[in-house]
Amino acid sequence: MKLRHYVIRRLFLLIPVLIGVSMLTFTLSHVIGDPIAAYITSQDLRLSDLQMQKIVTAHHLNDPLYSQYYYYVMDLLRGDWGISRTDSDRPVLVSIQNYFPATAELALVSMFFALIVGIPIGIISAVRKDKPADHATRVFSLVGVSTPVFWLALILQYVFYYQFKVHNLPNLPASGRVNQFLWLDHPLHVITGIYSIDSLITGNFSIFFDVLVHLILPAFALSYVFMAVFVRMMRSSMLEVMRQDYITLARSKGLSERVVIYRHALRNAMIPTVTVAGLAFGGLLAGAVLTETVFSWPGVGRWSTSAIVRDDIASIMGFMLIIAIVYMLANLIVDLLYAWIDPRIRLG
C-alpha cells in the first residue's frame, strides 16, 4: 500500500536529521561551550583539580572529538542527558518529563483555538475578497505577525489581571496552571500530566474549570501569532483554489455557493495550509518559551529560560533536543495528514 511506504520513507528520512541534530547539540555543548559545565551540579561551587579530573575521565572529555561524540550519543540513547542544575539537580530527562505536559497542554490548546478561529476567518476573507471584511483580516493578520508575543502577554496580564482586579471585575489569573488552594481542596489525580484531560477523566470539575481559566490568557497570547499566519495562508490558499477550473464546473452543476466553498474548495485549500501549519508550529514552540516565562507557566519553556540565566548548558541542550524531536514529529503528523487529505498522494 502506497501510504505505508510513504510513512516508512518519511520515518527513515528522520534518522539523518536526528543524527545531524545530535551533532549540532554536541558541537554546541562540547566543542564551543565548556564541556565540563554540563556535569557540574549546583552543589559544586568550586571544583578542585581532582574533582575536575574525575569528571574529565568519567565522561571521556580528553578523548578525540569523534570518540567524545560516540560517548555522547551513547549517553543520549541510554537516557543520560545530563544534570539539570536549574531543576534541583534532577536528571534532564526527568525535568523534561515533569515540565513537558504543561507545555504540551498550552501548545495544543493554543493551536486548536487558532485553528477554530483562523480557518473560518480565512475562508470568509477569501470569499469576500477586497471587501471590508477582507481588509480587516489582512490588517489583523499583519499586525499579528508583527506583535512580540512576550509583550502581548504582558499587556494581557496588565489589562485582564491587574486592571480588572483594581476595578473590582472578575479577573483572569496571571500565573500558574491552577489555583494552589483549590488543589488542596480538590487534589487532581494526575495521569497524563495534561490537567484539563486528567480532570475531565477523573470527574474533577472544579479543577477542570480552574485549569481552563488559567489557560485563557497564555493560550490567547500564544495563539494570536499562529492565528495570524494561519489566516493568511488559508486566505491565499482559498483564493488559489477558487480560481481553479473544477470550481467552475461545480458551479455549472447548479451547486449552491456554500456547497462549492465547503465541499469543493475547502478540502483542496487545506492541503497547502496544513503544510504551513506544521512549519508555523515551530513558531508556536518558540512563542511558548516566551509566554511561559511571562505567565510563570511550569513548562519546558520557562525551565529553559531559567537555565539560560544560570548558564546551565545541560538543560539547554536537553531542551533543544526535545524541541527538535517534537517539531519533527509535528511535521511528520502534518505530512501524514497531507497524504490523507490528498488522494493523489495516498494512492500514488
Partner: protein, 304 residues
C-alpha cells in the same frame, strides 16, 4: 525551385552592456515599482520603515537625552511633557532610549539578514548548480538547522557562545542562512532548466559567470521578499532573546531588554514595558507590510 541565397550569419560581437542584456528585467523592475506605488499597504509600510530608519540615523539629533543619561531622582515617572513616554526604573528617559534603541535593533537586523543572504545565496547557488554530493550534503545540513524553531536554535547557539550582543548577532546569522540557501537553490534549479543556460554554456561561459551574471539576477525578487519579511522576524527574535536575557548587558538601550526591565514593575509603571513593545511592533509591522505588498505585486498571476 528555391534559391539558395547568401546565408547571412555575421555574428555581431557587439559587446552589450549589462543594462542592455537585462533590459527586460529592468522593465519588469520599473513596472514593479509602479505597482508598488499603487498599493496603500506598501506605502504605509514604507512610511513606517522610513520613520524608524530616520530615527536610527538621526538619533543623536532627535533624541532629547543620551542613552546613558539617568535622572536618578525621577525613576518610574509616568508620561509627561518632559518625558513623553515616562522614565524607567533608573530614571532613563524611555522616549530617548527607544530612539537610541532603534540603532541597535535595526543594525542587528540588517547585519543578520545581509550576512544570511550572502552566505545562504552563495551556498545555495553553488549547491543548485553543482548538484550531486555537495547538494545532498548542503540539504542535509539545512535540514538540521531548520529542524529547530528560530528562537530556540538562536538561544542554544548564543548560550554556547556566551551572552553578549556580538554572539547574539552571530547566533541569529547561524539561524537564518539556511532559508536563503534553500530559496536560492530552488531558484537556481528552476533556472538551470532554462535554455539560456545551455546557450551560455555552449558559448563557453564558466559556471561562475553563468551563476553570477544570469541566474542570480533572475532569482532576486523572491529573495527580496523573503529578506523584507525576515528583517521583521529578526527584530522580533532579537527582542525576544534580549527579553530572556541574551544580548545586551544591563542598561543598554535595547527594546527587548527595556521590556524585561519593565516587567518587574508592570502594574505600577506599565509604560516602561509598553512603549518599547510598540516600537518593536511598528518597526516589524512596517517591514511586514512592505514584504506582503511586495509579494502580492510580484505574484505573476496577479500582475497585469
Amino acid at each position: 525551385m528555391t534559391q539558395m541565397g547568401q546565408v547571412k550569419t555575421s555574428v555581431e560581437r557587439k559587446s552589450k552592456s549589462w543594462f542592455d542584456e537585462h533590459a527586460p528585467q529592468i522593465r519588469e523592475l520599473k513596472f514593479t515599482l509602479y505597482l508598488l506605488r499603487q498599493s496603500p499597504i506598501v506605502v504605509a509600510g514604507f512610511i513606517l520603515v522610513a520613520l524608524f530608519i530616520g530615527m536610527a540615523i538621526f538619533a543623536p539629533w532627535i533624541a532629547p537625552h543620551g542613552p546613558e543619561e539617568r535622572f536618578w531622582n525621577l525613576p518610574q515617572q509616568p508620561p509627561s511633557w518632559r518625558f513623553p513616554f515616562g522614565t524607567d526604573t533608573t530614571g532613563g528617559d524611555i522616549y530617548s532610549r527607544i530612539i537610541w534603541g532603534s540603532r541597535l535593533d535595526l543594525t542587528i537586523a540588517l547585519t543578520v539578514v545581509a550576512s544570511a543572504i550572502l552566505i545562504g545565496s552563495v551556498l545555495g547557488a553553488i549547491s543548485g548548480f553543482m548538484g550531486r554530493a555537495f547538494d545532498e550534503a548542503l540539504m542535509r545540513v539545512t535540514d538540521v538547522f531548520l529542524a529547530f524553531p528560530a528562537l530556540i536554535l538562536a538561544m542554544a547557539v548564543a548560550a554556547a557562545l556566551g551572552r553578549n550582543l556580538t554572539n547574539l548577532t552571530i547566533a541569529l546569522m547561524v539561524v537564518w542562512w539556511p532559508t536563503y540557501a534553500r530559496l536560492v537553490r530552488g531558484q537556481v534549479l528552476a533556472e538551470k532548466e532554462r535554455l539560456y543556460v545551455d546557450a551560455a554554456r555552449a558559448v563557453g561561459a564558466s559556471p561562475a559567470r553563468i551563476i553570477f551574471r544570469h541566474v542570480l539576477p533572475n532569482s532576486i525578487f523572491p529573495v527580496i521578499v523573503q529578506a523584507t519579511l525576515d528583517l521583521g522576524g529578526v527584530i522580533l527574535t532579537a527582542a525576544g532573546l534580549s527579553f530572556i536575557g541574551f544580548g545586551a548587558g544591563a542598561g543598554v538601550a535595547e527594546w527587548g531588554l527595556m521590556i524585561a526591565d519593565g516587567r518587574s514593575y508592570l502594574f505600577q509603571s506599565p509604560w516602561i514595558a509598553c512603549f518599547p513593545g510598540l516600537a518593536i511592533l511598528l518597526s516589524s509591522l512596517g517591514l511586514n507590510l512592505i514584504g506582503d505588498g511586495l509579494r502580492d505585486v510580484l505574484d505573476p498571476r496577479l500582475r497585469r
